[in-house]
């Protein structure tokens, strides 16, 4: 990674840091439009009540909680990836740190919005704090999410300080005065003194070492939230580890997709190289194999010897009039196709790995849908109900509009972050190149 001219690299980010380009504004406008439609849908839901959604007495949470799990999973995965990259000092991952840190924050911010959408009385939402009951898994989740958000934000900020300082001092492009001032404030007087570097490093180490177990446990809590229920299909000890694995899996997939997008957008072929795709592809391969293993274990254990309600539940995954199609999509998108494409060298290329990652992201969304909806549709006592919407869940346009708005909000936040700092940690990479690389430990063996 040597021989990089870091000023030239920084210059690639002139738009949107100095001034967003026209394409930035166009994309922003489109995303804002989606967001507005979402806001309109939200107003409908608040005015008319939850009756406008597809949620009913059996499927009490639908697409909203699917999105909650999905975005939170992405968020926690981003946090874990960024911290693991940092702590392991894997030097090749350096250009990817910022991307992981960004979607860590964005995922953890958007996820909770969706849980609020599941709540019938938003006017009383503060009761979650004022009347908090520690016995409730929801309270655990509130504590976990808030803790993770605080840690993630602190980490994100600390990881940005060097770039803020670099932007403050840069002569590569002329920043508007207000932005210069902002960077002066945000960089906290960092000027690369050894003790500053030492302190920054130590802070980052401690935070990273705290975030990894916290994020793993926080996402496990979400698994427990379902696993601790007595419902067939949820009551499973596998849930927490599976949740964490699926979260990492979706995180790596999103990382690859964003790598592809940013590499194209900012012409970073020399920074985010093909090798980056191959290495991430290996991680994706391992996780898809792990996910396949979990899925297989779950299905075969439930299928071989099964109680009545469990049997009804598991049979829905093999019945194409129920969830057979969706479970096939999950298996194809998140297990079969990734394994085949990533296993055979001939099929491996940055584009194909990115394509597979998109499929994985879709497949894992359906996986979460399959975790939630079929279970809620299969209670112990038969649903004898003449209103079909009470028997089968069908998301309405309100829920889809809000889902799209959630994705749009993610893109918007990402684009706003991009105006603040380059999407690869330029200053940190530069610093890394300057310091003498410590010799591997085996050189000290005499």
């Amino acid at each position: 990674m040597a021989e990089i001219n870091y000023d030239k690299l920084l210059a690639k980010f002139e738009h949107p840091i100095r001034k967003p380009s026209r394409s930035w504004w166009i994309l922003m406008a489109i995303m804002l439009l989606f967001l507005l439609i979402g806001v309109f849908a939200l107003i409908q839901q608040i005015v008319h009540g939850h009756i406008v959604t597809g949620m009913r007495d059996h499927v009490v949470w639908g697409v909203f909680i699917v999105n909650f799990i999905y975005f939170l999973g992405i968020g926690y995965a981003g946090a874990i990836l960024a911290c693991v990259f940092h702590l392991t000092r894997l030097r090749w991952t350096k250009p990817l740190h910022r991307i992981a840190e960004l979607f860590a924050i964005i995922g953890s911010c958007i996820g909770p919005i969706f849980i609020f959408l599941c709540i019938g009385r938003l006017d009383k939402i503060h009761y979650i704090f004022t009347y908090a009951r520690i016995q409730s898994p929801i309270t655990w989740d509130v504590i976990a999410i808030v803790t993770c958000l605080i840690l993630d934000f602190t980490y994100l900020y600390i990881a940005h300080i060097r770039d803020f300082a670099k932007l403050r001092d840069t002569k590569v492009f002329k920043l508007p005065a207000w932005k210069k001032k902002l960077y002066t404030k945000l960089s906290l007087g960092y000027d690369g003194r050894p003790e500053q570097i030492k302190k920054l490093n130590r802070a980052q180490n401690i935070l990273a070492a705290t975030i990894i177990p916290t994020a793993i446990f926080a996402y496990s809590l979400l698994g427990y939230l379902f696993g601790m229920s007595l419902r067939p299909g949820w009551h499973s000890t596998l849930f927490a580890p599976e949740f964490v694995l699926v979260s990492l899996y979706s995180g790596i997939a999103l990382l690859i997709v964003l790598m592809w997008v940013y590499r194209r957008r900012y012409q970073l072929v020399n920074i985010i190289t093909d090798q980056h795709f191959y290495y991430s592809g290996y991680a994706l391969f391992l996780l898809s194999a792990g996910f396949g293993y979990f899925t297989f274990s779950e299905y075969i254990t439930e299928w071989y010897n099964v109680s009545v309600t469990h049997g009804k539940w598991i049979s829905k995954f093999f019945d194409f009039s129920e969830y057979g199609g969706m479970s096939l999509i999950t298996i194809l998108f998140a297990i079969a196709i990734p394994l085949i494409v990533l296993l055979i060298p001939k099929f491996r290329s940055p584009d194909s790995i990115t394509f597979v990652s998109v499929l994985v992201l879709i497949g894992l969304w359906f996986k979460r849908y399959l975790i939630i909806v079929p279970t809620l549709e299969t209670p112990y006592f038969p649903i004898q109900e003449i209103r079909p919407e009470y028997v089968h869940y069908q998301a309405t346009w309100i829920e889809w509009a809000l889902t799209l708005a959630g994705i749009a909000l993610g893109v918007i936040l990402l684009m706003i972050f991009n105006t603040l700092a380059p999407v690869v940690p330029v200053a940190e990479m530069e610093h890394e190149d300057e310091i003498t690389v410590p010799k591997p430990f085996y050189h000290s063996i005499k």
């Binding site: 009540g49 009761y127 004898q384």
Partner: protein
């Protein structure tokens, strides 16, 4: 035998009157509530656990028969352990339990806190109609998960929902293995009722965006009446009473709770889940009618529901 039955009945009558009148730990019979009695006069009172005690009349006061609100609605009626026994042999799917419950709780026709479902346990066994209220579990999964203490277990065994506290997160609904909880999806006109004071014991007026469910009608118990579903059932299939008194009544007959369970092999639903329901079922052994009778009045749309069973 006849004599034994009679004495049991009188005993029950006595304890029922004393018991239902008592909302405090020690209270008095209706006839003793003359507060003008001079101080120092001793009044004999039977406590809810069956002891006869003497109380100074000046220490006595009349018991409120109004539905409790606030903290009192969270305590429950002292000394009580409410239970329900449903005789599956008597249910004919008339649906009166559902409708009288709806009338009593100001519900719409689609809000079924008490629902009658058709059950068939296995291929060869006969189907039967099963009225399904909230089971008011002693180990309630719904109460465990509530994040704001909106649903709670009272000392009289009843699980209630405080709609003023409930934030509508629906976690209790997903936690309940018996699908007993119903969400107030729509804002109904009757929720606008400003004259009635809300009490978790009556669940009236309802509130949009919160959870509702069978509440065992503790407001009626305070008045010495049976729940709406019990008095509404023309078959007398539903018995309600107090396990401490060991007595349950379906409105026409009052019987010993334990003996009823013993004689008719009473059982509870999904016992293996460890939820400890307070609703017992008597197997449909001594049937008053064949189950098909329950299908008589049904239109095609409803018959469609049971196509896998009949």
């Amino acid at each position: 035998m006849e004599e034994e039955k009679n004495s049991r009945r009188t005993f029950f009558k006595k304890s029922l009157t004393t018991g239902l009148a008592s909302a405090m730990s020690i209270t008095l019979l209706d006839s003793c509530n003359d507060l003008a009695k001079p101080e120092g006069e001793q009044v004999m009172v039977m406590t809810t656990d069956g002891r006869l005690v003497a109380v100074d009349s000046s220490a006595m006061h009349e018991v409120s028969r109004e539905p409790a609100i606030g903290d009192e609605a969270r305590q429950g009626i002292p000394g009580r352990k409410f239970v329900m026994v449903i005789d599956l042999g008597k249910c004919n799917n008339v649906g009166k339990c559902t409708t009288s419950c709806q009338k009593g709780h100001d519900l719409s026709a689609s809000q079924k806190w008490m629902q009658v479902i058709l059950m068939k346990d296995s291929q060869e066994t006969d189907p039967y109609w099963m009225p399904k209220p909230c089971f008011h579990c002693d180990n309630p999964p719904c109460v465990k998960v509530c994040p704001v203490d909106a649903t709670y277990k009272r000392q009289d065994g009843i699980v209630l929902v405080d709609n003023e506290r409930c934030i509508g997160c629906k976690f209790c609904m997903s936690a309940c293995p018996y699908s007993a909880r119903i969400f107030n999806w729509e804002d109904l006109p009757q929720y606008e009722d400003t004259e009635t004071t809300y009490s978790p014991e009556t669940s009236v007026p309802g509130r949009v965006g919160t959870i509702g469910k069978c509440d065992f009608c503790p407001d009626l118990s305070r008045k010495g009446k049976l729940p709406h579903c019990v008095s509404g059932c023309p078959m007398g299939a539903i018995y309600f009473g107090d396990a401490n008194e060991d007595a349950v009544s379906n409105g026409t007959e009052t019987v010993r709770f334990k003996k009823l369970l013993a004689d008719r092999y009473g059982y509870r639903q999904l016992e293996e889940l460890g939820t400890e329901p307070r609703v017992y079922y008597l197997p449909p052994t001594e049937r008053m009618f064949p189950y098909e009778r329950g299908l008589d009045r049904l239109d095609e749309k409803h018959l469609e529901l049971y196509k896998d069973i009949i």
